[in-house]
């Protein structure tokens, strides 16, 4: 079971670094190119959400990303240390009826990962788990 772990500062500039590293991993794991594209978006959304959540945390805490290869595919787990909150935001639409960023982010995550769940982490914060299929 291959495992890669990445820890980055909670700043938006690092979301692109994680995206790049994980697309390299996804390609070398043999995922189809369109699954690689889905993974890039889902992982970026999860990391962006984690960076935003950590802005509400005490102190300067990192975002953690874990990559695991299983027989069926890839599991990516993104962890923050923000206050626990429901993934679905209270405010789904603004005054003009447009979806808020967090609703858009949540739809992308659920549509693009084969499985997407969020659970509280030991020690505080939330963890988002996503999985992506291998070809065949």
């Amino acid at each position: 079971m291959a495992l890669v772990e990445i820890e980055v500062p909670s700043r938006t500039a690092y979301v692109g670094v994680v995206r790049l590293a994980l697309s390299a991993l996804a390609r070398s794991a043999g995922l189809d190119e369109d699954v690689v594209d889905d993974l890039k978006i889902a992982v970026s959304e999860a990391c962006a959400n984690a960076v935003l959540a950590n802005e509400d945390a005490d102190g300067d805490v990192p975002v953690t990303v874990a990559w695991t290869e299983t027989d069926d595919g890839i599991v990516v787990e993104v962890g923050d240390r923000g206050p626990i909150h429901d993934p679905r935001p209270d405010e789904e639409v603004d005054s003009q009826g447009f979806s808020t960023r967090s609703v858009l982010s949540f739809s992308l995550l659920s549509a693009l990962a084969a499985d997407c769940s969020r659970t509280p982490r030991e020690g505080g914060g939330m963890s988002t788990q996503m999985s992506f299929p291998r070809p065949g």
């Binding site: 979301v15 369109d34 959304e45 962006a48 003009q96 979806s99 858009l104 982010s105």
Partner: protein
């Protein structure tokens, strides 16, 4: 990671050519440019996404914000996009119903002028 943004006038529209990845880090740069355009009186805006490799929810939010700003002046915001992987993002989020999406800049500016 750099986001390239160039603006040119085509017909009566401001065409914004975007190149690179629009994400939570780079989207603010696009937001500034779109706010600047509207404040300078460009109310018919075409955002050309053909050079965009990546678009996330923050980027979508910036486009929605710009749409609201031009609408406030009875203007329009159209997109040019033929890339499946980018179109997919608009489809998943239901924003294909919110933005007119064209195959070419000519088509987009003709629709805005028509």
């Amino acid at each position: 990671m750099e986001l390239g943004i160039d603006v040119r006038n085509v017909e009566s529209c401001a065409v914004v050519d975007v190149k690179g990845e629009i994400d939570v880090y780079t989207a603010p740069k696009l937001r500034e440019k779109l706010i600047e355009l509207v404040s300078e009186g460009s109310y018919n805006v075409v955002v050309n996404l053909e050079g965009v490799d990546f678009l996330d929810s923050t980027g979508l939010g910036v486009l929605v914000g710009a749409l609201k700003r031009v609408k406030a002046h009875d203007g329009s915001l159209a997109l040019v996009c033929t890339q499946d992987k980018i179109l997919k993002i608009f489809k998943i989020t239901g924003l294909t119903k919110v933005f007119p999406i064209h195959d070419s800049i000519d088509e987009a500016t003709a629709a805005a002028s028509g």
